[in-house]
Every structure is written in structure tokens, then in C-alpha cells.
Symmetry: D2
């Protein structure tokens, strides 16, 4: 019963197979392997972006930091929410990669709103050379609290960015979960919605450790290559990144995995609701923030269930007090497992 | 006939097996996986360093840059040779990670000598606050030209560093090739020879993409963890780094692989010598720098052999002109392959 | 009628005299001038800190950034208010000098409160290696809105910092205005209140361009010297920084200047109040944030008065609408000038 | 008898006068003062560059680092000589300001030669993404050893830079000494010779602490302003930088001061030659590197003469051993003083 994160499960069998298949003979290093050609083509096709520049790195933080650095001058500020991964969970990596840039936190509890974004943007660069200058807008899709921006919501945000001539970055660590949730295409959720560069996540959705960075405007390509190398993120035996991504993109493996994760999540949410849990955030992809009594938490804990208690603490006297849990589902979860979890509530 | 580099071959079967074996169920992320415990123990045992802090990253440049950054202030300078990987092949990654530090190139064509090192160190910090301050000494073992420092040579270098109270870093991208060549222990070649931190390479010797950073003084541990995260080099599904290194360290796989690579190299060198090739550098591990006639290069090239022409160019009229090649052997080479290569000379 | 800032007035005559006096013969460069010895002694005496490390730089941003950098690791976050100069007015200089560190904005409209500070500190470093680590607390005295922390308020803040073992920095661009306002000693307002390092401002209070950085713990001295040089803030003809500060410290010139500025401000505030202005913030030193009708602003504007309209705009139909002004007084203002200004209301 | 440096003498009386004159009333801060308009016009006229972007900073290291940073990406390398001030005397400031860039030392003992420069440039960027990329060429005029590049020499260097599409920076800490030595115009020695940006020194030639950065292509203007502010080098009371530079440019004060320094140097060199001193470098501006017997050094030392012993040491038995001195002349030296110095030889 593991619901602690989607970053801790196994690799999809078809990806593992691709890794095994790739493990023969010599391959050109540093991204010049043949499999990368396949990956590039697959991603360009999937995103309907024949000119896109496509690169692989091994961590989501690398994808975000390097993508943002290509669009951020050191004297600029990146607009994101107070709960954005780039702000809370990357130990200043974006600041490091962008040479000492700042992050401006657009007020809000999870989803960024166009009004809040506009006010934040307007609030910067009013002091001329003295304050930070306006930099890119970074949007997280799926959000940190499990929400999914509709295409309209996404476009409203990038429209504000464009109004100020600012680039838009999409942190898509859970990109495919969002896409599946929306029932849209990769193009819909990115360049057709005004996104300039996307961190297209693989790791949380069944890969071993690979993320693509996709620039819809290829003029950033060479800069990215230099930043990737200088950041020590260019792999010599790159074919093993390529093989993961190739296996991921082939035969809709990525979509099937996200659909499975979302379905697992929906089943769990339905069960929680039936058991009387209350929800802190709408369940729109593969994450649940729900509250249920301490006594149920205790039973789950005793049974070895793994997840984060989001608000409150297991320590406490009142067995009926509602404690919030964060529950994240991935492709590897099973109905049996979900039902077993629910049985403890 | 692939001799272009040891960074382009396949993964050792036993490591691939460990990866497959590891691919089941959930594992704690970010280095808290059980396999990492095994790795830590194995490396501490191998290095006879029960207190050592042991970390994994995926690239050699990350290992070097992060290890050095822990010992380098931004206003310092790192001592290395003009041909060091950290100087020539990392696109300023060490400068980036060390916050804008400098590299001082100790004169020499490959191996660093104690006298040259001392003169270089003495040449810095004579200007008080105006010049760069003295930082760590970085030594590459196997050297960039295929040489191996004897233990005496190594100790003479670290002795100079200690004289000035400077830490010593070992870039061990080909650590095991050197160790096998010297017939010594990991401890001999590191802390017993005055090395404070080592980039212990796996990728070039049969891993998929993993390097260990081993600090013999564990007080740098937490700083390294923060630098690794901030550099975006902390893997969520860390077990797949651990599994590689576990497979590498088990049953002497690392030693056998390096021994195989060195033996392949010795066979190739012997054959080259017999064919009249001249050598630019002594052959001491798994790299050869040798010159032979353009006509032989042409035949090899036509037959699809892959390697770098180090000096001169295939273009040219004189079939007898000697052109130098860089030939790198790895564990995956075969005698048949070597002999086939030699047959074209 | 210049009330736009205290950074635009002339240099105190006695400081100008010291500069002229210093302009003879040769003097050792880079802070080794004899006048610096006098400055060091004067500041140590004034602050009752015989061991303090004392340095001069030419801008307040340099003083803040360099002082903070000595106490901030690149993976840490500096706690300050949302209106702090280091956040709003230094174009990411603190982030630059601290190697890509972050600023955490302690909620509040001007003065930092101990409770808000504690909550902010507690909010960081809960994510282990993933989030930013806790760094120094930076307190601005006089605040950006003209407030002065009482000694009790100051101590309550540094007590919270100490609780978490964090250093405390005082941005004292208007240090002496605060000191005069409180009627306390330099020691009271700094190390006796738990401050570890202070940016002791001179420029806004009658100097040409000089700020002292005073470390009460001298162990940061050499690091500061290296950071200052590397930041290009070490003056060769340093005697002209020293002479300013020597003139400033001599014969209570600094105290008299701040007292004059504060008195000018009090007279102006009293007059504004009499004319019916409303105050956005208490007037505690040399800054006023007050609202009065658009028509009065228009008359002042037509008469050439210089100050910032803080809220609202001169453009508008309603002559009675209250618009807020920021009015800053310095030592060079005169009663005539103040009264003239008031006459337009 | 002060010949230690030209960074330790007094300020020209006419500049001091301008500072005193400027010290009245209020002036717009941060470079918006009226005197800066005068400075901008004067420099544009002197350089025959009506479009040039002109900025002031207070130190030579700031001028160099900020100018270079505008032309250097963090993954690039700056070409300079092994004795360049930016390499030896700025404590990694150029690396810091350029975000971790590298310096490539073009071999040579002082003046850079076009052949050596071409070889150095060709030696970089041959490794694709792996090595540093080619960045600007920085030329020092007057050189660190007192040499002056002829216009032909200068043009030959910038021609090599242009061949590779690299910008050329001139470190003109002693710009006017070189100009006077060559008898040329400011335009001749800069943009007419292919220089893109110059650090136009004031401090060493009679100012208190001011250097201009002049971009002949104004498109770098805004970036420079942001970098200057972020580097904490933007002065609030900027008029006092402006006044220095205004006094410097007025009535040929800058030219007269450099001519005086060069003449002092010529007199000293002539006297040294007559006394049998030998010269390590040609004397072409205001610096001398000359050897004379230890006994003479001892007499000078005893008489209180200030200068650096460049090679050798006063300690030693042989009174006839030749020790080299570095002797730097400035505008404030007098014939009496020079002759007194010579009398000790």
C-alpha cells in the first residue's frame, strides 16, 4: 500500500525491455545515438511540432532548471506559485542555474489565476533598474495539489504572460496525467496554449529517470546543449536515456500508464468519499488530498501503508480528529491494493 | 572495431541483471533505498574506510564538479593539468559549481609533477587579496593520456598539497583501470596516498551511468547532499543508480571489467608495436596513443573502425605519413576484434 | 523643496573638508591608509566593540550583499520583509553575491514581527535536502516605511533567529536616524540586541558614498576581504572612503546630521498633521508617508517640489481625493524649506 | 619618493575643485544627475562616438568585470595574457561577474601577439559542447609591463578576434598614458582599431575613484545598467562620480596628467640608463622594470623610497647583484623627486 509518491515505483516493463534491448554493442555517446533520433521524431510527432528542439535529462529538477535558465537572465524573476516545485523542492536549483535570479511567488494556494499573475507581473519592474526584471512564467501541470488547468485556464495564464512579452514554461512532471485527465493532445496543452518550453516528465510515470525538455522555438537549442553540459547533465551513455524515452513513447505506453494512474486515483477517491473522507482539493489527476479520522490513519499505519500525513499528526488523543493525507497513485498500483487500503478506513 | 572511447559500450550483464532484479515494487526515493545501504557498505569495505561518506551521481562531470565544489571557495583556484578533463571537457562545469572559481593549469603535457605543482601553488596567493587563493589539487588517475601515477608519484603530489594545507581530489573516471594496472588496493590509491575525495568512476567501466563520490572525511557529507540536490543531480528513483553500483561492486565485477579492458589494451599495444607503430605515451592502462601510416588508417577507416585521429588528418597525399590515433579499450572488446583491427595495419 | 530621498543631497561640509585635507601626497592603497586606522578605531569605540572587523564599501547594496554573503550558503534562504531593500531595490544583488540563494519574505507590511518570523523559519527546512535551508535574518532599521524597531522589538527578532541558530544582519542604511530616534547607543542597537553584522550607512546621512560593514565576530574578516575584492568593491585610493567615514564619525557629525534630518521630519510631520494630512505609517525617524488632497499635490508639483507620490496619481479629476506622498528628510533641509512646502497644502 | 603604483597618489586639483563645486543642493541620483550629461557628451566627443553608451563605476575591476560580462556567456572563455590584471589581480571577479566563465591564457610574457592569440582561439571550441566556447578577447593598454601596443599591433589583434567573430575589450586602466605615448586620438586606439568596449581609466591618472565603461555599440546599454546595479556598483550620489570624470575630461586635464606621468617616467628611465641600469621591458608609458645593484636598492630603501622589488630580494650578500624594480610614475611626481631617487643609484 504505497501512496507516498509516484517517484518510487518500478519501471514499466516495456521500458525495461527497451533498456535490455539497447544493451548491445557500441553506440555513439552524448546524444548522438540512433535511439535518440527515434525519440526526437516520436516527440515531435506526438507534439505536432516538427521543428521542436528535444533533449533528455535524468531528473525533473534538471529539466525545470535548465529550461528556465534558457529564458531567464540573472537579474530577472520567475513567476510561479508559492507551492511550486521549483520554489519549494529544488533547493534553489532554479536560482543556481539562472545565475542568481529570483522567484516571485504569485499569491494563491495552488492554481495560479490570471488576475493574480497580472498583479504580480505588474508589481515587478516598476522600479526601473533597481528591482528585478520580469522573467518567465512557470506553470505546473498537474499542479502540486493534484489540480489540472483546463485549456482555457492555461491559455488565460499564457495570455497574460504574452501581454508582457514573457515566455511560458510548463513544469510537466505529471504532464501525461494532466493530458489524460483533459482528454487533449500534447499540442493542445503546450504550444497551442501558448507554452514555449515544457519539462515533459517521464520518471513519475513509469520511466527509470528521464525527462524531456521540448522547446517549441528551436533557437534555444544550442544554448540548452551548453547549459546541459555545463550543468553536468549530458550523459555519455545517452542511449540509456533514449531507450527509456523511446519505450515510453512507443505504443502509447506513456498514455496508458497515466490513464492507469488516474484510474487508480479515481477508484481510491471514490472509495474515500464513500467512507466519509473530506477533500482538501478537487481530485483531477493522480493525487488526492483528503482528510479522515486519526483512528483510520493509525490502522493504515499499523498495516504498513506508506503516504504522507499532510496536515496534523498521528500523535494525538482524539481518534476522531480528521487528519489530511496526501495520496499519490501511479501506474503500478492495483485495484486489490486500493481496496485493501480502503478497507482500513 | 570500436576504440573511440570507453564511454560508448554496453552495460555489464551482471549490472543489467541487477537493474532488472531491482525493478519490482516500491523503493524509498532519493538515496534512501535499501540497495544504497548495500552500496555504501561495499564501497566502505573496498576502500577500508568505514567512516567514508558515499554518494552516487550519474555523470563523471557531476562527480568531479560536486566533489571539487565542496572543497573550493569561489575566490580560489583549483590546480590541475592543462589536459585535465575538468579543464578541457566539462564546459566550465567546475567553475559553475564552485561559484566562479578559477583553474590554474600546472604546466606539463600529461602527468603532473610535484615540482611543477609546487611552483604553481607558490605562484598563487602571493598577491594577498588581489589574486585567487589556493584551492584543491585535482589529479587524474588514469591520466588523460593513458598514464598511471605510481603510488609514489601520487603521494609526492599529495604531499605537496598537504604542505600548503590544500585538499587533494582524484578524478577516477578510470579508477579501476589504474588500480588494476598498479595491482594495489582502493585504499592504497586514495586515502593511504593522501587523497581526500575521489570521483570513483563506474560509467566507463561497464555501468550505465553512475559514479560514486567518496569523501574520506565525512564532515563534507551534508554539504555534498545539498550541492547535489541544488545541482539537480539527486535521483528520485535512486535505486537504479544503487543497483548499478551494487552490481558493479559485487563479485569483483568492477575489477574483472577493468582487467579485461587493460588486457584488451595490452594485446592491442603489443600488436601495434609488432606492426611498427610508434607510441606517443607509455601504455599503462586502457588507452593507447600510437602513430602508424596514413594508408593503414585509411584501410581501418574503410573497414568501419571507430577511433579518433589524434594528430594529423586522413586527408593527405603521403600514404606513409605517420598519423597518431587515440585508441581506448573497454571490457567489451574481444580478442577477435583486436586482431581484426591489427590485421589492417 | 526636495523630499524625494535622502540619497540626493550634498555632502556634509566637514566631510568635504576631510576629503580636501586627505588630498595630499601618497597613501597606501586598498585599505592600508592611515585614515582607515582612525576609522576602525572610531567605529570600534562608538560600537564598544574593540574586536569588531570594520570595512568600507561605497554603496549600501554592496554593504548588504557582501555582509549577507558571508553568512549565507547558496542553498540557504535569507529571511526579510516583502518591502526590504534587499528584496525590492537591489536587482537581485543579494542572490548574486550569495551564489544563487533565495529570499524568504516574512509576511507583513513593514516591520517584521517575531511571530511571523518564527512561522517563516519553521516553514523552511521541513523538506530536508529538497527545500532551501535556513539562512540569516535581515532586519532593516529604520524600516522602509519610516518605522523604528524599539530595542525590545529588535531583541525579540534576534531571539527568534538565535533560537534557530541563525545569524542576524541589520540593514542600517539609516542606522543613525534610528539610533537618534531611540536615544540609544550604537552597541544597544546592534550586538547588545543580538545583531551579528551591520551595514552602517553613511551615504544617506551626509557622506558622498561610503558605508561601513561591521562584523562583531571578527572571524568573518578575511572572507569579507576576499568577497569585497572579488565583487570589485575594494578601492585602490581607499583613503577617500576612509576620509569620508573619518569626517562622519568625528565630533558627532553623524549624530548631528541624523538628528537634523529627524528634526526636519518632525517639523514637516507636525505641519502636515496641522493641515489635515493623514498618515499611512507612524513617523519615527526621517520618513513620512502621508496623504493629502490632489489639489495640494498639484500646487506643490507646480512649485517644483520633488517627492514620490506613493499611492494614486496626480492625474485625476477629483481635487479632494487624498493621494499619499513619501517624503524623506535629510540633514540639509531647512526650516524655511519645510515651511514653504507646508504653505502649499 | 613614491614609485610603488599610480593608484596611491592624490587627486588632481581641478578634479577636487569640481567635487567641491558639485557639492551644493540636491541632484538626481543613480546617474540621472546633470553632470553625467556633461560627462556623456564629453566622452562621446573625445571618442568621436556620438552613439556610444557611457557609464561610470568606481573601480577598475568593476569596469573590466562588468564590461566583459556583457560579452561573455558563462560557458565561454575570455582570452587574455597570463599577466593580465583580470587574471592575476582581480580575485576571480571576471569569473564571478561572467557567471563562472573561464579565462584562457594566451601564452606570452606581456604583449599578446596575433599568432599566439589565433592559436589559443583555435585551440578552444574544437570539442563541441564539451569544452568552453570562445568568448571575448581582452587586451590591456598600457600593458602590465609598461608596453604600449601600436595601432598596427592593436588592429592585428582585433582582426584575429573579428575573424572568429569575437568581441574585443580594452582594459584601459592606463588608457591615456598609452594614448599620449602613441600620440593618437581616443578613437584611433579604440573603435577605429576594432575595440568594442573600453574600460577607460580615471583612478590611476588623477581621479579619486572613477572609471568609464564605453560601449561603441549601444545595444549593450541596458544590460550593462542591470549588471551594474546587480553588482552593487550603481551610486546613489552619482554626481560625485560624474564630477570627477567631468573635471578629468575638461580642459585636457586627463591628457595633461598622463603626459606628466609619462614625462616623469622618461626622465627617470633616462637617469636609470645613465646610471647603468638594465631594462627588462621597453619603457613606453609610465612604468619601468629595471635592474640595478642591491646596494643602490638598499640606499633607496633606507632613504624611504617606495617601490616594488620585482625580481630578487633585498636580503642577500652580494651588493653588486642586480635586482629588478618596478617603478610607476604618476602625474604628481616632480623632477626634484625623480632626481633625488636617481641620486641614490
Amino acid at each position: 500500500m504505497f501512496f507516498a509518491s509516484d517517484n518510487a515505483g518500478p519501471v514499466l516493463p516495456e521500458i525495461m525491455q527497451r533498456l535490455n534491448d539497447a544493451n548491445t554493442g557500441y553506440a555513439m555517446p552524448y546524444g548522438n545515438d540512433d535511439i535518440m533520433d527515434e525519440v526526437r521524431a516520436a516527440i515531435r510527432t506526438a507534439f505536432e511540432a516538427p521543428e521542436a528542439a528535444v533533449y533528455l535529462v535524468a531528473t525533473g529538477t534538471a529539466a525545470n532548471s535548465l529550461a528556465l535558465a534558457c529564458y531567464t537572465q540573472p537579474w530577472q524573476t520567475i513567476f510561479c506559485t508559492p507551492v511550486a516545485h521549483i520554489h519549494e523542492d529544488e533547493c534553489n536549483a532554479p536560482e543556481f542555474y539562472a545565475g542568481g535570479a529570483k522567484l516571485t511567488l504569485v499569491p494563491g494556494s495552488d492554481k495560479m489565476t490570471p488576475d493574480a499573475l497580472r498583479r504580480s507581473i505588474e508589481g515587478e519592474e516598476v522600479r526601473g533598474v533597481h528591482g528585478p526584471q520580469r522573467g518567465p512564467v512557470s506553470i505546473t501541470q498537474v499542479t502540486e495539489r493534484g489540480g489540472v488547468y483546463t485549456l482555457d485556464e492555461l491559455r488565460a495564464l499564457t495570455a497574460v504572460a504574452k501581454e508582457f512579452d514573457l515566455p511560458a514554461h510548463l513544469d510537466g512532471a505529471r504532464f501525461t496525467n494532466a493530458m489524460v485527465s483533459l482528454g487533449c493532445t500534447p499540442a493542445d496543452i503546450t504550444w497551442k496554449s501558448g507554452v514555449d518550453v515544457v519539462s515533459f516528465g517521464g520518471t513519475k510515470n513509469g520511466c527509470m529517470g528521464v525527462e524531456a525538455v521540448v522547446f517549441f522555438d528551436p533557437k534555444k537549442a544550442w544554448e540548452f546543449e551548453l547549459r546541459r553540459k555545463r550543468g553536468a547533465h549530458l550523459f555519455s551513455k545517452h542511449r540509456y536515456l533514449s531507450a527509456q524515452m523511446a519505450g515510453y513513447m512507443a505504443n502509447d505506453a506513456w498514455i496508458d500508464a497515466a490513464a492507469k494512474a488516474n484510474a487508480n486515483c479515481a477508484r481510491l477517491a471514490k472509495g474515500l468519499k464513500a467512507k466519509g473522507a473530506t477533500f482538501l482539493h478537487p481530485v483531477e489527476a493522480n493525487m488526492i488530498f483528503a482528510a479522515f479520522p486519526r483512528s483510520a490513519h493509525q490502522r493504515l499505519h499499523d498495516a504498513g501503508a506508506m503516504y504522507y500525513i499532510w496536515e496534523g499528526s498521528l500523535e494525538g488523543d482524539d481518534p476522531d480528529e480528521m487528519l489530511a493525507a496526501r495520496l499519490v497513485c501511479d501506474w503500478a498500483g492495483t485495484d486489490e491494493n486500493t481496496d485493501k487500503f480502503l478497507s482500513y478506513l
